[in-house]
Symmetry: C2
DNA sequence: ATGAACACTAACCGCATGGTTAGTAGATGT
DNA sequence: ACATCTACTAACCATGCGGTTAGTGTTCAT
């Protein structure tokens, strides 16, 4: 609960930037390997080749380090998915892009997966708190689904919220599977999920 | 590492049975409320109104307590789902029963949900290990899907494994949602999931 | 040459953890 | 009556935790 170095603004040294980036990196690796629970200050420090005190010199607390790692991951994810959605021409295409974007990103950055999924319920002592996680993480997708419905691309009887929740769960599940079985074909799985979406959402023809 | 009381067989005292049942009960509550991480020996003890040493008198280790709690939950779940599946007439009906059974049980026993889902990745230090969890939890459902395919109830192009994984993820997601929003209509969600299954799995007509 | 800022280390603090040990009150069997 | 077993408690132990403190070597502007 003390300094933590540049409490406000103050542009960072080159060294500081490098260290922070390194700490974020090793923290992501650590969480990927041992989960949030197994990610102690000690371990972060020795993974970076410095002491605990040095870590706390750069970040005010362990929570701050983890927070930084989490933010890095989330930023990467949202940018990737956002870009894909922006490219989509139709509302229904945006939903597809969301699904493929999420699965694609997770497949490409397996280390980031655990950081995200474990943040959804572990929190409490890691203190992420502001996360878009738990309560309404289905919101963005549900909005996309709603838009596609409004555009007449989906049948009117479709429940946007539950569809979004189910889709989200399906995405998590295939990604998790690819984590335990590196041979699992994520691209094919994404096709299956999108196909399922089309079969259930599109109007009878 | 030491005794832990009746290491082998030895029928249990009435008192012992009652205590063990109580310990399992409070442990489930504790995990539901604070997760595996927040479930210390101390907390278990004081929730049961005894000392740490008394807990260890009944169970060899904290791991053993958690293990017992986990086993209790899993047993309840499998029995419930198993009974429903046994009642189903057709292979496709068994798949529906599995889906509705899981969602129904989780909805009826919200305290048990966290015990199960958090066991899937938290493990490591709780030492559940033998759990049917991570690697192939989709197996049973995939077998059911495969059987329905073989019976001609599902289209031949359906990928049983990915279908099972996606279905499992969808189930987890709607159950998780009902945990954060107690007003969420789980029965309706189960209908949506089953409907989605039918639309994607059944042959064109 | 001097003083300040930077980037760190070694040692320490208090606390919570899982688990052990010695002892004990009460029931039960002989 | 005495011994045994049951079901516990109070006190303790080592370990690992997040975090603090005092000090140190290096760099750099003046």
């Amino acid at each position: 609960m003390t300094t933590g170095r540049p409490a406000r603004a103050r542009q960072l040294t080159f060294t500081e930037q490098a260290r922070r980036a390194q700490l974020v990196e090793v923290t992501i690796q650590l969480i990927a390997a041992h989960g949030y629970a197994g990610c102690s200050l000690q371990r972060i420090a020795e993974a970076a080749g410095i002491t605990k005190a040095a870590v706390i010199y750069h970040y005010a607390s362990k929570r701050a380090v983890i927070r930084a790692a989490y933010d890095t991951v989330i930023t990467g994810l949202t940018e990737h998915v956002g870009a894909l959605i922006a490219q989509a021409a139709t509302p229904a295409g945006q939903v597809d892009a969301y699904v493929r974007g999420l699965i694609g990103y997770m497949g490409a950055h397996p280390d980031h997966v655990r950081v995200i999924v474990e943040a959804l319920d572990d929190d409490h002592d890691t203190g992420i708190a502001d996360r878009p996680g738990s309560p309404e993480r289905w919101r963005p997708l549900a909005d996309l689904v709603e838009a596609a419905k409004a555009a007449g691309a989906y049948r009117a009887t479709l429940d946007a919220r539950t569809t979004a929740i189910v889709l989200g769960g399906a995405i998590d599940a295939v990604v998790a599977e690819s984590l335990t079985d590196r041979c699992y074909d994520l691209r094919a799985a994404a096709d299956v999920v999108v196909d399922m979406l089309h079969r259930t959402a599109l109007p009878p023809a």
